[in-house]
């Protein structure tokens, strides 16, 4: 059982730890958002990113297969034609941590990112666009996995 005093001292230690890790890597990088990659649900994730409530939007699109034969390599793409995108995220709902990849987009690149992710089981996959004006838009697609990607 953890009491309040322990909790506070733990948080302080954690904060100090995060501060040091944030100072070590290259200056150009934003600190790695460990909280976001630990998030178990969409709501937790949005809290960790400091973003608002996501709404479904037709302007965001997700490309993923209907059926993935091999869950270790599932090609997923997130894109939007809207201007003013700050971040694009790829989420897999039923993975141990929902966030797979978070892209920080500048005006020099299209808001169109493709990568490959691991999926433990059939799940909904989300493409989330965080806009400059604070809106959070997403598109969703169900991907069926016939062979899980996280087993040994």
């Amino acid at each position: 059982m953890m009491n309040r005093r322990d909790l506070l001292s733990h948080s302080a230690k954690l904060a100090a730890l995060l501060a040091t890790t944030g100072l070590l890597p290259g200056v150009a990088h934003a600190a790695y958002n460990a909280a976001a990659f630990d998030a178990k649900t969409m709501a937790d994730l949005m809290k960790a990113l400091g973003a608002g409530t996501p709404t479904e939007s037709k302007d965001v699109s997700i490309t993923a297969p209907d059926i993935a034969e091999n869950g270790a390599v599932v090609p997923v793409g997130a894109s939007t034609a809207l201007a003013g995108v700050r971040k694009l995220a790829i989420l897999v709902e039923k993975n141990p941590a929902v966030l797979s990849a978070l892209f920080e987009v500048t005006d020099s690149v299209d808001a169109n990112m493709g990568t490959r992710v691991k999926m433990g089981q059939s799940s909904n996959v989300y493409a989330v666009a965080i806009m400059a004006d604070g809106r959070v838009l997403y598109a969703m697609k169900e991907v069926k996995v016939t062979l899980g990607g996280c087993g040994g």
């Binding site: 270790a72 990849a101 490959r116």
Partner: protein, 103 residues
């Protein structure tokens, strides 16, 4: 030192499509070895893309990105002869930078 990345950047219209294949284990930290012990997480955390020395895209990745990760994006206004530089850094502090010329 990790193996080099394979980077391909091709002009299509007013932009260039960049495709990157990195060589990395991307261990999730959830798998167990034959003795039943957890294999510690080992994955790429940060990816940075530069176009002629200017940062155009950064990414943060979790352990659920596939082994030997693939990445594709489009750089606006890139012309043949431009330089595309990709850097990744993993959670053990290792990093690798590779450069390719847009064709």
């Amino acid at each position: 030192m990790a193996d080099p990345m394979r980077i391909r950047a091709q002009v299509s219209g007013d932009k260039a499509t960049v495709r990157v294949l990195m060589s990395h284990e991307m261990e999730t930290g959830l798998r167990k070895d034959s003795a039943g012990k957890l294999i510690p997480a080992w994955h790429i955390q940060d990816v940075t893309a530069l176009h002629n020395g200017k940062v155009v895209m950064t990414a943060q990745w979790g352990p659920s990105v596939s082994k030997n990760p693939f990445l594709q994006f489009n750089v606006r206004g890139a012309k043949a002869g431009d330089k595309i530089t990709i850097t990744w850094k993993d959670n053990k502090g290792e990093s690798r930078t590779d450069e390719a010329t847009v064709s």
